[in-house]
């Protein structure tokens, strides 16, 4: 059998159900394990990070597998994948894997092969100069940013993903290639609240956010949307039924109730939200997934809005860098960003990161009480003196 080249291939549009195969599921994983993995499956004893991006796993049998981890773009073309295959064929018996965070891992079974592989990988650059397969992303550093589709494929984004990730990773490149931070820092990026990238438990999360209520396309709304479903879709009951002057059924939106979640747009294409000036980037920090030392935690909003300054997002890059640098300078070994912020107090986080604490950072959604500090334990920072001054408590 071979891949077909006829217009419809093996498929016969006249008889769509003919010889149809369904419910096959994914192929089995075993055949994609290199021999050293097959031979030592479930019998690994320990691992060590030999240098940034290079791991060795040692099996009970004494076998070793050396892994070289490279940053990859989540978006890649078949040309790039073919080059990855060339590398795998040349060095790794044709095998490779991808990580959850879009890194590429090449595995070999000896130190010599590993050195040759590393040299090959670092020598490969795009004609315009960027690395194709930079080695890094292990240990106490910054690994690849997981992200969403953005303008490349998505219909609801409040910003772009691939460009922001490229810009931020260019800035954080040394951290990707190093392991000098107190612990790993996971940066994640999602272009809207739908968060198909689930960024809500990341050390630093970058989130595209709309800030203008939807525009109502009353011309078509009643034809393309189920009005009761649209009304029910709003979590703050900001949408109510309405009629246009010429008698068409439509909806109206109470702008002051809108939290810009975009759930109505998901239900109804006649309510677009995106807007050049309205859309922005929200920065969250201090989340984690791992159960290590402290339980997993959500990221907290630390910068409500930064501009969508395409294509390099200088304000976003600068903010991320500021947070990481303050963290690197102050956190204890093994402390994640959130653990550090909790130890020093969030008031100190804002001071040390030089990020202003604005009214938008006070929770005004449900369960806001959970975030109130109901204690006299606090630290004095300039933000505290500003309050004392404002109320006439001090000169």
């Amino acid at each position: 059998m071979t891949l077909s080249t006829e217009r419809f291939g093996l498929y016969n549009p006249e008889k769509p159900m003919e010889n149809r195969l369904t419910d096959l599921g994914p192929r089995h994983f075993w055949e994609y394990f290199p021999p050293v993995i097959q031979n030592n499956y479930g019998k690994w004893k320990y691992h060590e990070i030999l240098e940034p991006g290079v791991l060795v796993h040692v099996a009970e049998s004494g076998d070793k597998v050396f892994t070289v981890r490279c940053g990859g773009c989540r978006f890649m073309t078949v040309e790039n994948i073919r080059e990855i295959c060339d590398i795998a064929d040349k060095h790794c018996g044709g095998y490779l894997r991808f990580t959850t965070r879009n890194n590429i891992e090449f595995m070999v079974d000896s130190q010599d092969k590993m050195e040759a592989l590393k040299k090959d990988l670092m020598s490969r650059k795009h004609v315009s100069g960027s690395y194709k397969f930079p080695i890094g992303g292990t240990g106490a550093g910054v690994t690849n940013i997981v992200h969403t589709q953005g303008y490349i494929h998505c219909h609801t984004p409040a910003t772009d993903a691939s460009s922001m990730v490229k810009a931020v990773m260019d800035e954080l490149f040394d951290y990707f290639q190093g392991m000098a931070l107190p612990a790993q820092v996971r940066v994640s990026m999602a272009c809207c609240l739908n968060m198909c990238g689930a960024v809500h438990c990341s050390d630093i999360a970058l989130l595209g956010y709309h800030r203008k209520p939807p525009i109502v396309d009353s011309e078509v709304l009643e034809k393309v949307c189920e009005i009761p479903l649209v009304i029910a879709a709003c979590p703050t009951a900001a949408i109510s039924p309405s009629k246009t002057d010429d008698g068409k059924k439509t909806v109206k939106i109470k702008g002051e109730r809108c939290m810009f979640c975009g759930n109505c747009y998901t239900m109804c294409m006649a309510l677009p939200l995106s807007d050049k000036e309205g859309d922005c980037v929200t920065v969250l920090a201090g989340g984690k997934i791992s159960n290590r030392i402290s339980p997993p935690k959500f990221s907290k909003v630390v910068i409500p809005a930064l501009p969508n300054n395409f294509p390099r997002f200088p304000e976003v890059c600068e903010s991320v860098k500021k947070i990481i640098e303050a963290y690197a300078a102050d956190a204890n070994k093994y402390e994640r960003v959130g653990d550090w912020a909790e130890r020093i107090g969030w008031e100190k986080f804002f001071e040390k990161c030089d990020v202003p604490f604005t009214e938008h950072l006070l929770d005004d959604y449900r369960l806001q009480y959970d975030t109130y500090r109901t204690s006299t334990q606090f630290k004095f920072t300039e933000a505290a003196w500003d309050v004392s001054r404002a109320i006439g408590g001090i000169e």
Binding site: L3, L10, G42, M76, C85, H153, K166
Partner: protein, 471 residues
């Protein structure tokens, strides 16, 4: 060691390929340097600078590669990549996306796996007028060989845009951009030639995902690959034919480090754990103390953190303070241990998870839409899990009898748990409550007592009451 559920033929690229070597290497570096996209894309050009791999540089070589193939060697227009870049540039200029809302397309008999997408500038960018995505269900933990990937590449270059994601957020191989006409032919090739199915989308079981597991990790307490494979195959109907209120995700983490983030992003999070004692190699403990082994497997070697101090770095950071050095030996009071992995991560050559392993099951994680983000709630502390995982499947099916029945349209499991209460979840699962399910007991006494909870029930007679109390 493992057998696939159905017989699987080996994929050999040399037998399956579409393009010749000559066609695959059809441009020079010089031509690539001089390549100009047909649209003006100054902002994207700027993204070629800097050290991090440039997706634009990559897109341009595919654009050039396609330009130099003849149009009869592909079913989608040659300039599809250039049109995509052109549209992204306009999106930058205008600060708004140019993909239309929705689009219901798919393959016969499936309700998921294909995401319909159309450009709202089809006259300007006709080659991406349709730009549908196909999700291919990745093999467990994303190991591949080059035969598999090269075959997918040829198929996708011939019948699609040549642009992909490795991988999407849920774990699928994402093929970005093809026309409606090619969806069925691609699916036919995938199933007949590659013996490979699509993944999930819409209100169904989404493509399950797992960590690297026993393939290359000494911490894996469960066989994440095998479990992921078995449950994915067992629930193919639920994966392809949407019958749920909303999406439902399974993710399998081999240990509490949580490398696939199941606790944050799956409705049903499976996390490997153990119930016996952490295994200790005292000689290796001494080797860490003596500086012979690097702590945390060398993860902190980029900075001089000083000499390793087991008291400060391990014993002092243990969240339950269940460890101590006693007479030169490390002791762990395993009854008090919450298996956070810190000591094991820090001294992997000295400490290993126990050998009586199983899975903790947590329910209800989701991203913020709609009522805020949720993490999964610890519900089943420990469950043995061995192939074919019948006990796990029984749990899944209890959930799937409740949630599709009671869940509202677009209500995730976590939201239903909040709406009907954890107590209801426990009734569904037929398990008693345990303090481990909460961070702390409730601080309000507003208990919704039921009539049957109270002696004598709620039926009372006002005359009887009045016989004792004057009005």
């Amino acid at each position: 060691m493992f057998e696939p559920n159905e017989e699987q033929s080996e994929l050999k690229y040399q037998e399956l390929r579409i393009y010749s070597d000559e066609e695959l290497h059809n441009y020079t570096e010089e031509e690539l340097k001089n390549f100009k996209c047909k649209h003006d894309i100054p902002d994207l050009d700027d993204l070629e600078k800097g050290p991090w791999p440039s997706f634009v540089a990559d897109a341009k070589r595919e654009a050039l590669h396609r330009r130099k193939l003849t149009q009869d060697r592909m079913m989608i227009e040659r300039d599809v990549v250039e049109d995509m870049l052109g549209q992204v540039q306009i999106s930058f200029d205008e600060g708004e996306t140019h993909w239309k809302h929705g689009g219901i397309v798919g393959v016969f008999g499936y309700g998921g796996g294909v995401i319909g997408r159309y450009s709202d500038l089809p006259e300007k960018f006709p080659s991406i007028a349709h730009f549908h995505t196909m999700r291919i269900n990745q093999p467990s933990s994303k190991f591949y060989n080059s035969d598999y990937l090269r075959t997918v590449c040829d198929l996708w270059e011939y019948r699609g845009s040549g642009m992909m994601n490795m991988h999407g957020s849920t774990g699928d191989i994402i093929c970005l951009g093809t026309f409606t006409e090619q969806l069925e032919p691609i699916f036919y090739e995938l199933t007949h030639v590659l013996q490979q199915d699509l993944g999930g989308s819409g209100s169904n079981l989404r493509t399950p995902e797992c960590c690297v597991g026993r393939a290359r990790c000494e911490y894996a307490c469960i066989d994440t690959q095998a479990m992921c494979y078995e449950l994915t195959h067992f629930y193919q109907d639920e994966l392809h034919r949407p019958a749920f209120p909303y999406k439902f995700k399974f993710k399998f983490d081999g240990c509490p480090n949580g490398c696939v983030a199941s606790i944050a992003r799956s409705d049903m999070s499976y996390i490997g754990t153990w119930r016996d004692d952490i295994r200790i190699d005292q000689a290796a403990v001494q080797a860490y103390i003596g500086g012979e082994f690097k702590p945390n497997a060398g993860a902190h070697s980029g900075r001089d953190w000083g000499k390793f101090d087991i008291e400060k770095e391990v014993i002092g950071l243990c969240p339950t303070k269940c460890m101590r050095m006693n007479g030169g030996k490390l002791e762990i009071n395993n009854k008090e241990c919450t298996r956070c992995m810190h000591c094991i991560n820090t001294m992997p050559r000295a400490l290993r998870p126990g050998t009586e392993t199983g899975v903790s099951i947590l329910f209800g994680a989701k991203a913020p839409i709609l009522d805020g983000a949720q993490m999964s709630v610890l519900t089943i502390p420990f469950m043995e899990c061995e192939h074919p995982y019948d006990n796990i499947k029984e749990v899944v099916e209890k959930i799937w009898e409740w949630w599709p029945e009671e869940g509202k349209n677009r209500e995730r499991l976590g939201e239903l748990i909040q709406r009907q209460g954890l107590t209801k979840l426990l009734q569904v699962l037929e398990v008693p409550p345990m303090p481990q399910m909460v961070k702390e007991p409730r601080s309000n006494p507003y208990i919704f007592w039921k009539a049957e909870d109270v002696p004598g029930g709620w039926e009372r007679d006002i005359n009887d009451y009045r016989s004792r109390h004057k009005r």
